[in-house]
């Protein structure tokens, strides 16, 4: 690593650390992540421990978030549901990053007819609204966690392909890339050593924002009964189940929803903070096309 690279990284970090909103959202996300990873061990009750005599109890010292219509502990269910939600979001966005960036970098680097064909295919994908495309995937493969991951992954792939391609196009013509090619280095080396590190900024920003929308998409699919299936608790399904009890037991609707809002808000704010530092010019496409549902 050169001194210049080091100093630019240090100044980026300093900029990030100087923004209290960014730091705050990073801390919130760290807490959410720890909770998600350790959920199984820290829950006070089993997620499916039915206790009918204690059904629909308001929040108390014993049941922090109250109990649902079967007397199950809402707090425990929210923790485990956050874990499921994060797993779906992380795996699906990882899928979208790997596939989308590969497509975008190759299209942008290679150019020519390949670029044209690939990007027209991406355009076709963009013509499908997010949730509709996800629903179509579910219609083909049937509901479930794997389908949800695949559906959200497919939906977000074109966004990463576009961002990666646009960045690759601008980096490709830089003198240091030309110089590297002139020196006779291979394409793979040039891609790995020069292109990828220089397009990482916009991709990191996009990843943070995509995680936010992936959580919303998973919640929407689970709400519709097409995502995570019972008996595994999911935030979307908990909100769906709360519909009949909203005035009787507000806690059944409020806590799972609040868990979604806190996580999504933290990813969005972190993404904004990262964009200001890593990619000030870029306005993400994802927002224009966000949340169909």
């Amino acid at each position: 690593m050169t001194t210049q690279e080091q100093s630019s990284r240090v100044s980026s970090l300093r900029l990030l650390a100087g923004n209290p909103v960014t730091v705050g959202s990073a801390i919130v996300l760290a807490v959410v992540l720890v909770v998600a990873v350790t959920a199984q061990w820290i829950v006070p009750f089993g997620t499916n421990d039915v206790d009918v005599p204690n059904a629909l109890r308001p929040p108390s010292g014993e049941h922090w978030f109250g109990t649902d219509e079967l007397g199950r502990d809402v707090f425990s269910r929210v923790l485990v549901a956050v874990q499921a939600s994060m797993r779906v979001a992380v795996v699906s966005v990882a899928f979208a990053v790997v596939v989308g960036v590969t497509i975008g970098v190759i299209a942008g680097y290679r150019g020519g007819w390949l670029d044209t064909v690939v990007m027209r295919m991406v355009d076709v994908m963009f013509a499908f609204p997010v949730l509709l495309l996800a629903l179509a995937v579910v219609a083909i493969l049937g509901p479930g966690v794997t389908t949800t991951i695949l559906a959200i992954g497919i939906v977000y792939t074109p966004i990463f392909a576009r961002v990666a391609r646009a960045s690759t196009l601008s980096v490709r013509v830089e003198p240091f890339v030309q110089a590297s090619r002139t020196m006779g280095t291979g394409h793979l080396f040039t891609l790995g050593r020069h292109i990828l590190p220089n397009i990482a900024g916009p991709l990191i920003v996009q990843t943070s924002l995509s995680l936010a929308f992936a959580i919303l998409s998973e919640a929407a699919l689970s709400f519709l009964g097409l995502g995570i299936q019972p008996p595994q608790p999911s935030l979307g399904r908990m909100i769906f189940d709360s519909q009949g009890f909203v005035t009787l037991a507000w806690w059944m609707a409020v806590f799972p929803g609040a868990a979604i809002v806190v996580t999504v808000l933290a990813f969005n704010l972190l993404g904004d903070g990262l964009r200001d530092v890593l990619d000030p010019k870029q306005r993400t496409m994802i927002e224009a096309r966000r949340r169909s549902g």
Partner: protein, 322 residues
């Protein structure tokens, strides 16, 4: 070669229309492929417990699934272009008729939603941009970021719990056609319209803010200010007016997104639109309905984007000349 198209505007329009047609062809291929990607036999799945060899053969022949793949595609594409999208696996109704019956509910929800969104986003976005860095700007930014992060179905349920179940001001769900019962239509559309509009308004506030900020940084705004024009005139005539173009774009994109994305809100409010139709069709594995609805929604999405691009070309001289 003869030059048929001479004006740059016409060239731009022709390119955009051609491009939309190519994308639409791709959409058609994907929608066609949908039913063939289903593991197992879609006709058999659709029939479920009603399966008999006769019913199977009848539905298979009626849906053309017994013919070669390429033949099926050309037949499907040809029929789709003439407005024939096949019949529902479920009840045998023509898909086109079903879609057209559902369209008004979705369009009225989309239009009311975008109006509410604009009523929020225009003042909030412009105010926020003109007061950049101040406390009111920070409040608008945080509030809009919050709005973007709220699941719409959750907001819908909370609105129902408050305004319908607790206060009894408005009905919990349902729909009345505008022309049959205008008052009933209004009462029923307020809550779903608010749900759609608040979320879209939060997104649009962020766009309008940055659009106004972009214009405010332009040289001609500085010139206008430095030649001594009153700030109000600079704001209205130079800044806000020029920000109208990007605002038009985002409004179009949002309207397209709303029309195509109200599935969850329609389910929450038992709203008989396209979204709920798709949802029920997915549950019932009614593939012709899913295909037809996806095709219609994607076409609407492309059409609105095309119209926005065309308006853009009319309004913005830079595009006309480039």
């Amino acid at each position: 070669m003869t030059r048929v198209v001479t004006s740059p505007v016409m060239r731009f329009l022709a390119r955009r229309v051609l491009y939309s047609l190519i994308v639409m062809l791709g959409v058609l291929v994907v929608v066609f492929a949908l039913v063939h990607l289903v593991p197992g036999d879609p006709v058999r799945i659709a029939l479920g417990t009603r399966y008999t060899p006769e019913a199977y053969e009848a539905l298979r022949a009626a849906s053309g699934l017994d013919r070669p793949l390429y033949e099926q595609f050309f037949s499907y594409a040809g029929s789709a272009l003439t407005g024939d999208l096949g019949v529902s696996f479920r009840n045998g109704d023509p898909v086109t008729v079903t879609l057209l019956e559902r369209l008004p509910a979705t369009v009225s929800l989309g239009v009311v939603g975008i109006i509410i969104a604009l009523l929020i986003a225009l003042p909030a976005g412009v105010w926020s941009a003109l007061h950049e860095g101040r406390l009111s700007d920070a409040i608008v930014r945080v509030t809009s970021q919050f709005g973007v992060s709220i699941p719409d179905f959750w907001m819908g349920i909370l609105l129902i719990a408050f305004f319908a179940t607790t206060l009894h001001w408005l009905p919990t769900s349902g729909y009345r056609p505008l022309f049959d019962d205008p008052a009933g239509w209004l009462r029923h559309i307020i809550l779903p319209g608010l749900t759609v509009g608040l979320v879209a308004g939060a997104i649009m506030t962020r766009y309008i803010r940055s659009a106004v900020l972009d214009v405010a940084a332009m040289g001609y705004v500085r010139t206008a200010r430095s030649k001594g024009l009153p700030p109000r005139v600079v704001t209205m005539r130079h800044t806000v007016r020029n920000a109208a173009i990007p605002v038009l774009t985002i409004t179009g994109i949002q309207l397209a997104t709303i029309l195509s994305g109200v599935i969850v809100v329609e389910v929450v409010f038992a709203w008989p639109g396209l979204g709920r139709l798709v949802y029920n069709a997915v549950a019932a594995r009614d593939y012709p309905i899913i295909q037809g609805a996806v095709l219609l929604i994607a076409a609407l999405f492309l059409l609105i984007n095309l119209v926005v691009d065309l308006l853009y070309a009319v309004v913005d001289p830079r595009i006309r000349l480039s």
